[in-house]
Amino acid sequence: MRRFGKSFFIFFILSLLIFVLASVLMIADAIKLELNTTLKTLPQITLQRFIAGKQSDVPLERVEALLDIEGITAITPRVWGYYYFKPAGVNFSIVGIDAYEEQYSKTLSNLTQHFDIKLLEKENGMIIGEGVKKILRENYYTDFFNFITSEGKWQRVHIAGVFHSDLALESNDLILLPKKLAYAIFGMDEHKATDIIVKVANVKEIATIVQKINERYPDMRAITQDDIRVSYQNIFDYKSGFFLALFSICAFAFFIIIYDKTSGLSSEEKREIGILKAIGWSSDDILKEKFYESFTLSLSAFLLGVTGSLFYVYALQAPLLRNLFMGYSALKPSFALPFSVDVSMLVLLFLLSVPIYIAATLIPAWRASTLDADEVMR
């Protein structure tokens, strides 16, 4: 009972649907995994200052004042921002850290590919991400880069190291500089910081401390680690945007296949069932055969779709599809996502495809096989 052309078409469409869905969900899961890996090392509280609803720099005097609040163990002002590199049309993220102290050098040598400590010691070295290095090289900067400060002056900074390719997803567009340089490049007031990070003694006290900070400085907004966790959980809103469009299209295509199956067998298929009954097949035999047919078709479509999507996402780095998740900037990292298989996602995909397809095939076959063979054959 194989109508090869039609069966192959259904097989192909089913595999394609599962392939696309599985690929997108795999990518989404991998991105979430990557995000959640570093969640607990992020600052416990990040404080931003808002003037007229816009983020503004925080005066450094507030650091002293905030230290008075009980429960706070450390406060670090941060300087970071973006530098627009016009020739390539990209934004670099610049983070200023305190002049490279001894405590940092071991960490930095672990995190970077080549690390020149002498350049760092001179205090005008920077550590850049792989994407930055690539863009600079394309613009003929190999060992150093000339920033244009807000005053219009050139600021030469040497490349002291490049972050490991393992860290590409986090560091691709990043430039780590001494704070002094950051201030000069941004043209920021040295008595201000971009934001402040706060460390607390007891994690359970974070909410209380945030409340105290808000009372002291109502123009400051606190982003806690928990807030970031919530932000990560909602990074893909499955109810809107791209995912809604994707699921709608897949559901629509699948619905059409199922409708085609359940809207009753064609007279030819009914006749076939009648003939089989006439030559001695019982209804059970017919249903068993139909079950094998639909089970092997849907299961192999499912396996092919999942196998294909695993290969597509992890071996090929999802060409075309990755553009959805990476945008069109010239500064893109390699799409080397961490491998993780969410079994519950696969089980859900399986349950939404295989049993439904089998039911859609068996129900009309069962209806036809309960009729008298003679009636059906006429």
Binding site: R271, I279, G280, D284, D285
Partner: protein
């Protein structure tokens, strides 16, 4: 072997009831070769379908090998049909997109035999019917006569004890008809019960035919 007792069959044609068979009582012994004679629409095909269990009688009983088939559950009646009865249909009723070999194998599939033994059995019977050379060809590409032979092979593949044939020579030329008649004679010698519904005069003069029963307007003419 086959016992019919006051069998009636009615069909609904629109709002009216059409009587295809009216109180048919008949007994066919094991090994008998019986010819059912009658014009089209007389009820011969309906009678054969009832005996094969393809439909239920409106009233009366039908027994095959001592089992009342009208009362058998569906899986048992299918098994009976598969193991004991070979049916040659008037319109062949082959599955068009399958090959000749696959059509002949079809009745054997529920027996769960190995693929090799299925093929062996099918090929043996196809040789017998002279259609083995077209085994791999799709049946919708065969001529009428070739399809007829595939249908006959399919009916014989299970070594049935009863053969029911509905106009078996309708699409055969004289040579092939004679070949079929020889086959019927062989089956008669093997003790196979045969019930042949036909209006081909070739069958009315055959020496191995035990009885000729005439059916007119659903009634048996004795």
């Amino acid at each position: 072997m086959i016992v019919l007792h006051e069998v009636c069959k009615q069909f609904m044609q629109g709002d009216e009831e059409a009587h295809a068979l009216k109180k048919i009582s008949l007994e066919i012994k094991k090994g008998e070769c019986v010819v059912l004679k009658g014009s089209s629409g007389s009820g011969k095909s309906t009678l054969l379908s009832l005996i094969a269990g393809l439909m239920q009688p409106s009233s009366g009983t039908i027994s095959v090998d001592g089992k009342e088939i009208s009362k058998l559950p569906e899986s048992f009646s299918a098994q009976l049909r598969r193991k004991n009865i070979g049916f040659i249909f008037q319109k062949f009723h082959l599955i068009p997109h399958l090959s000749a070999l696959e059509n002949v194998i079809a009745p054997l599939i529920p027996e769960n035999l190995s693929p090799n033994s299925l093929e062996e059995k099918a090929k043996a019977v196809m040789e017998q019917c002279g259609i083995a050379h077209k085994a791999k060809m799709r049946v919708n590409r065969l001529s009428g006569g070739e399809q007829q032979r595939v249908a006959i092979a399919r009916a014989l593949v299970n070594n049935p004890s009863i053969i029911l044939a509905d106009e078996p020579t309708a699409n055969l030329d004289e040579t092939l008809s004679m070949a079929l008649i020889t086959e019927c004679e062989t089956l008669k010698q093997q003790g196979v019960t045969q019930l042949i519904a036909t209006h081909d005069p070739l069958f009315f003069e055959l020496p191995f035919v035990d009885r000729i029963i005439e059916i007119k307007n659903g009634e048996m003419i004795l």
